[in-house]
Symmetry: C2
Subunit: 326 residues, 2 copies
C-alpha cells in the first residue's frame, strides 16, 4: 500500500472503532443539549489523531491494561473543547463543512459546552489515579489557553517573527499532541527516558501538523478542507508561509501581501496572486521544509523503542502529517 | 460586636491579607493581557468567601502545613473563571459597579482568560499530590458547567419548579462552596465522617448563599449590589422568589408576574409593583425561610467538630449568608 493514509487506517481500524465507542460512552452529560452540542463537534468526521496517539504510545510501551481507549478520549474532548471556544473566538462560520456550534446554538452554549468537555476530560483523567497524568492535563489546559490568547492578540501583526510563531503553535497545538503521547506512555509506566522520547515525538509531530495546517490554508482544496481556504489570512493570523514571505519579499511584494492581511473579503483572483507571491518568496517551500525537519525529528525520537507494529504506525503518522490533503 | 460582617472580618483579617497575596502571586500568566483580564475580575472587591472557607476548614481540622493559602486560591480562580464565562453568557454589562470583562476586552479574551483561570486552578490543585482533591476539582468543573447550561436553557420557563431550581443552584453555586470546604479538610487529612460533615456544611451554605443572592436581586440597593436590581427578572432567570409567587398567585397576579419575565426594559414603578406582588404571594418570605433552614443545617453539620475560633467563624459565615446586604 503506497497511500500512507490508507496504510495507517488499515493498521488502526479496530482502534478507531473502539475509540468511537468510548467517545460516545464517556460523554455522560445530564442535559440533552450538552450532548447535542458536544456531539456536533465530536462526531463530525475528526481524524481522532490524539486518542490514536495515546493508544499507540501505550501499546508501543507494552501496556496490557484496559483503560487506554477510555483515557484516550480525554485528548479528543480537550481538542473539541478548544475547537468550540476557538471557532467562537475566530468567528468561524464553518467547521468540517458544517455550521460551527456557536452558529447553531449560540455563543453561550458553545462556551459552556466547551467548559463541560474540558471538565469531562479531567474527570476521566483523575480515574487513572496517576498524578503525573493530572499534572500533564493541567499543564496542557494552561498552555493552550495562553497559546490561543497569544495568537489572538497578535492577529494582523506584520512584525510577528518565526520564533514567536513557534511559541504560539507549541502552546496551542503541540502541547496537546505531546500530552496525548506522554499519557499513553505513562499508562504503561514508562521510564524517564521513554517519557522524554515520547514528549519529543509528540512535540515535533504537533509542530509539523500545525505547519502543515497552516500550509493547507493556502494550498488546499476548499471542499476537502471543509472550510474556506485563506481563512487564516482573512482573520489576520500570521502563519509561517506569510511570515517567511514577508521577510523575503521586496518592497512591492511586501506591500501586496500586507494589503491583504485581515481583509474580510478577498476575491479568488487576489488570493491566487497572493499564493503566487508566497510561492515566489519561498514562504510555502520554507514552511514545507521546516515541517519536514520536524517530521524527521519526531521519527528520530522513537529510536529508543524496539521495532513493533505500533512504532511503525507512529512513524507513518509522522510522515502523514505533511502528506495529508486535509 | 453585633455586626456579623464586622465580627467575621476582624476574625479573618490576616487570612484575607494572605489570600490576597497568594491570589496575585499564583496567577503566573505569561501574557500581560491575561493578567489584566484575570485581575480585572479577581481584584474588584470580591468577598473571598471560597478561599476563606478552605483556610478555615483546614484550620478547624488541625492543619499545620503551609499550602492552605495557596490552595485556597483555586476556589477564587474557579469562581472568577465562571464569572467571566457567565457574564458573557448573560450579556451582563456590569460586575461590581465596573464594566464586565467581556465588555472591556471582548468575548474572545473573556472566554480564553476564563479557560486560563480554570487551568491555573487545576495546576495549583495538582501540587497537593492528593488525588481526592483533584477528583473534587474535576467534579466541580463538570457540575458547574452543566448547572449554568441548565439555568440557561430554562430561562423564561414559567413552569420551572422548586426541585429543578434547587438542582440548578446546587450545581452552579453549592458544589464549588462545598468543594472549597472539603478540600480544606482533606489538606488536614480529615476522616470520612469529617469530610462528609464539611460537605454538608458547604452544600447548605452554598444553597443559602444562592437563595440570599436571588432574594437580593429583588430587594437590594442597586448601588450596594454593584449591578442593577431585577437583573434576574430581565434575563428571565427563574429564581425561588418568583417560582413560589407564581405557584401561590391568583390568576391576575400570576398574569402580572408572567408579563414581566424576560422583559429587557422594566420601569422602576413596574418593578416596585412586582416586588409587592412577590411579597403578597409570600415569595420573598418563603425564600428567606428556606434559606434560614439551610443556614441552620449548615451550622448543625459542624456539630462533630470541637469548639475552636475557626469553627465559630464558620458558624458566623453561615449566619452572614442571609444577613448580608450585598
Amino acid at each position: 500500500m503506497s497511500d500512507p493514509k490508507a496504510k495507517i487506517l488499515s493498521a488502526v481500524k479496530s482502534d478507531l472503532a473502539e475509540i468511537e465507542i468510548e467517545l460516545k460512552r464517556n460523554l455522560g452529560a445530564h442535559l440533552e443539549i450538552v450532548n447535542d452540542t458536544a456531539s456536533h463537534i465530536l462526531f463530525a468526521g475528526g481524524k481522532r489523531l490524539r486518542p490514536l496517539l495515546t493508544v499507540l504510545c501505550a501499546r508501543m510501551c507494552g501496556y496490557r491494561g484496559d483503560y487506554d481507549y477510555t483515557l484516550s478520549t480525554v485528548f479528543e474532548y480537550l481538542h473539541a473543547a478548544t475547537l468550540l471556544h476557538d471557532d467562537l473566538v475566530d468567528g468561524a462560520p464553518l467547521r468540517r463543512n458544517r455550521p460551527a456550534a456557536h452558529a447553531v446554538w449560540g455563543n453561550s452554549i458553545a462556551v459552556l459546552a466547551g467548559d463541560f468537555l474540558l471538565a469531562r476530560a479531567l474527570s476521566i483523567g483523575v480515574k487513572t489515579g496517576n498524578l503525573k497524568i493530572m499534572e500533564i492535563l493541567a499543564q496542557i489546559t494552561e498552555e493552550m489557553s495562553q497559546g490561543e490568547i497569544h495568537q489572538l492578540i497578535r492577529k494582523g501583526d506584520r512584525d510577528l517573527c518565526e520564533v514567536e510563531y513557534l511559541e504560539v503553535i507549541r502552546r496551542k497545538t503541540a502541547v496537546l499532541i505531546q500530552g496525548a503521547c506522554r499519557v499513553g506512555g505513562l499508562l504503561a509506566r514508562t521510564t524517564a527516558a521513554q517519557d522524554e522520547a515520547l514528549g519529543r515525538y509528540g512535540h515535533h509531530l504537533g509542530v509539523a501538523f500545525q505547519m502543515a495546517d497552516d500550509l493547507l490554508d493556502y494550498t488546499a482544496d476548499a471542499d476537502l478542507l471543509g472550510k474556506a481556504v485563506g481563512a487564516d489570512l482573512k482573520e489576520g493570523k500570521m502563519t509561517l508561509p506569510l511570515i517567511h514571505a514577508l521577510q523575503k519579499a521586496g518592497p512591492s511584494d511586501r506591500e501586496g501581501i500586507e494589503e491583504m492581511i485581515g481583509q474580510s473579503e478577498i476575491c479568488a483572483e487576489d488570493f491566487r496572486s497572493l499564493t503566487c507571491i508566497l510561492k515566489d518568496c519561498g514562504g510555502l517551500e520554507y514552511t514545507r521544509n521546516r515541517a519536514e525537519c520536524h517530521v524527521q525529528k519526531a521519527k528520530n525520537a522513537l529510536d529508543i523503542f524496539p521495532s513493533s507494529p505500533a512504532k511503525a504506525t507512529l512513524e507513518d503518522i509522522a510522515d502523514y502529517a505533511l502528506s495529508r490533503k486535509v
